[in-house]
Symmetry: C2
Subunit: 385 residues, 2 copies
């Protein structure tokens, strides 16, 4: 029950202190500053201010064969202030950039939802809202990312965090040392911002990373202390791994030289998750360089595991029409198209007419996946890439 009431004017003030900026934040701020400087220069020269925004369209995305990941092309769209069709989105772009500037200067981070609320207001003297909905704000945030060539995380904006980690690594997260061999059954919750200014690697005895699709499978591996027996790090991303998890895998691979093995369901969704970890995604092509791991390995499940592991019909799930269509699309991905092993894998899925979840291995034994399946594949070097 409300015991006392206080009026709004009695409210305490929020203290806003400027914080010392690290090199990365400094660099991001400079880029935002440059964006603003351009407006002033244009105004002084009596020219129309504009922003050139790299095009985030399918036609401007291609597979870089040398780097082996999806990249953005060089196409840009020019957004003018003095153009009725573009004025609003021009101003929204500048507004998002100024919001990020404020976050960085205060040394704070927020969610995309938070940034939306931070910037949402009715423009004085009008009935016009800066943003009507979150859906209007999100693509503008992506525009700013790609224009400034700064990761969302560098703009101090985060997505939902999902995913957890345990295993033979000790990290420092925001000044706290976290020994991932001592994280119990729950594990370390992987945050959405895992950049080096937040997370540093202190000590690593792991020889590889095993990334699994689901938390329930992860739990089986953790409970069986797989990471201890096999000297590794265990991660999951609750399905399609969010940015934080992908970025952390990327850092573990490139900074610590750890191979990344993926254990996913034998279905088109599993292939797609692997594809995104490996090559990047079309939507976030501009982040591939800091996200994609072309050397990531697909440990399973494989379409021929049904026979190989002697599974029963009972544990299969019939492919839907959508599954078949999706599988055929994935066969055509440039990074799978010329690999016989992948073509065989996906053809076999279609021939089988069914998909298999990793949990289906439980029908052999609760710990079959941790004690037989994964160790055999790793020992035999039996994976796809």
């Amino acid at each position: 029950m409300a015991k006392k009431k206080r009026k709004a004017n009695q409210e305490e003030q929020v203290t806003t202190t400027a914080v010392a900026l690290d090199e990365r934040d400094q660099r991001t701020l400079e880029r935002i500053q440059a964006l603003a400087d351009h407006v002033i220069q244009a105004a002084k020269a009596r020219k129309d201010p504009y922003i050139d925004i790299p095009a985030r369209t399918l036609s401007n995305v291609y597979f870089n064969k040398k780097k082996r990941f999806i990249e953005m092309g060089k196409a840009k769209n020019r957004r003018h202030l003095f153009n009725l069709a573009q004025a609003k989105s021009y101003m929204q772009t500048m507004l998002v950039a100024s919001g990020c500037k404020r976050l960085i200067e205060q040394g704070k981070t927020t969610s995309i939802r938070g940034l939306f609320y931070l910037l949402k207001h009715t423009i004085e003297g009008t009935k016009e809202e800066t943003f009507a909905t979150q859906e209007e704000c999100d693509p503008i945030i992506e525009d700013v990312e790609v224009t400034l060539n700064a990761l969302r995380e560098e703009l101090h904006v985060y997505a939902t965090n999902r995913g957890a980690m345990v295993g033979e690594i000790t990290i420092v997260d925001s000044g706290d040392e976290i020994d991932c061999t001592r994280m119990g059954s729950g594990g370390y919750a992987i945050p959405s911002i895992v950049e080096p200014n937040v997370i540093q690697f202190v000590k690593c005895d792991a020889k590889f990373v095993l990334h699994v699709e689901k938390d329930t499978v992860w739990r089986r591996f953790n409970e069986d202390k797989f990471w201890k027996k096999h000297k590794c790090i265990l991660t999951h991303g609750m399905g399609q791994p969010p940015r934080g998890v992908r970025r952390l895998l990327h850092r573990l691979h490139y900074e610590l030289g750890l191979p990344i093995y993926c254990l996913l369901d034998n279905d088109p969704w599993g292939y797609y998750i692997y594809s995104v970890i490996k090559q990047g995604s079309i939507n976030l092509a501009y982040e591939s360089q800091r996200m994609a791991i072309p050397e990531a390995r697909f440990l399973g499940l494989r379409s021929f595991d049904f026979e190989r592991c002697g599974l029963s019909e009972s544990v299969t799930i019939a492919l839907t029409e959508a599954d078949r269509k999706r599988a055929k699309q994935i066969m055509e991905y440039p990074w799978f198209k010329h690999k016989k092993a992948w073509q065989d894998e996906i053809k076999k899925l279609l021939d089988n007419g069914f998909k298999l979840e990793v949990e289906a291995l439980i029908s052999k034994d609760i710990s079959y996946v941790t004690e037989v399946y994964a160790p055999q594949r790793l020992r035999d070097g039996d994976w796809l890439d």
Copy 2:
């Protein structure tokens, strides 16, 4: 690429070792044993075996005014083996019980998905499946829980884990000591099984628990080290908190005497989340005793925060017809119906015609919620219960 192939018959065997059982597991096993003994007794006496399963129907659920939570009544449904309409579900019930026995004896846990795969098979000599789908298995798991009066967690079956914790507490999880003041930005991922055999409380300097709805809000509180300034524990449950989080809050409240404050969105969903934490849910009424916290407090957001905090129209979201309907239903809940403060709260929501997310407070300042809103409410004892 597949480098070597091994045949199924060359596969290593899974080693299954019996484990030492603790008191709790022993007790659960005895209950499963009693269920099986009943069948043998019936057979010996040449009688039809049956199981009496407490009815999980709305009509068998009521609000216990003394205990102040939702409880199940005494109605039971008898399930016979020798009854064509019941034989299948009878056998499924025994099958689930035997699966749980196997899990407990092996000292392992699995997900409801895992248990499904563990038990799914074609019955010999027929084309009949033990379970066709997960949806067929789930209610049987609940039947077994309620029949044995054992939490799902005690049957070694877990749900998805969501939610995280940081703050002034040190716990032991599966033998690992976890200091929640040193969990960085990610926090400790709350597992789905938090029973005393898995998690023990070692040291607690917290004076209360602040439970927030979303991870994004939780992150703001963690980043501002709210738990340090206010000597508390911070948890979130990614929306409607899963069993693990509810059970952990329950244990923190009853074992450590910590008050539980909930900071949720100002909408019917927020009210409902609070209601479930406080009184239990209809679906899981049989777990109320170990889940519900009738003393839990609703810290906000409140419907009159729009005026009190001086928020702008821009950050409001119009109520939908479904919202209005839901709000009116919640007003009629027995635990809200006779509380003027709650009636006023929900009426005001309807009068406002809009809802507010906790993130809307960001429009005042990024840290308004952690530096002004929550501290004021706590200091003034200004909450609903």
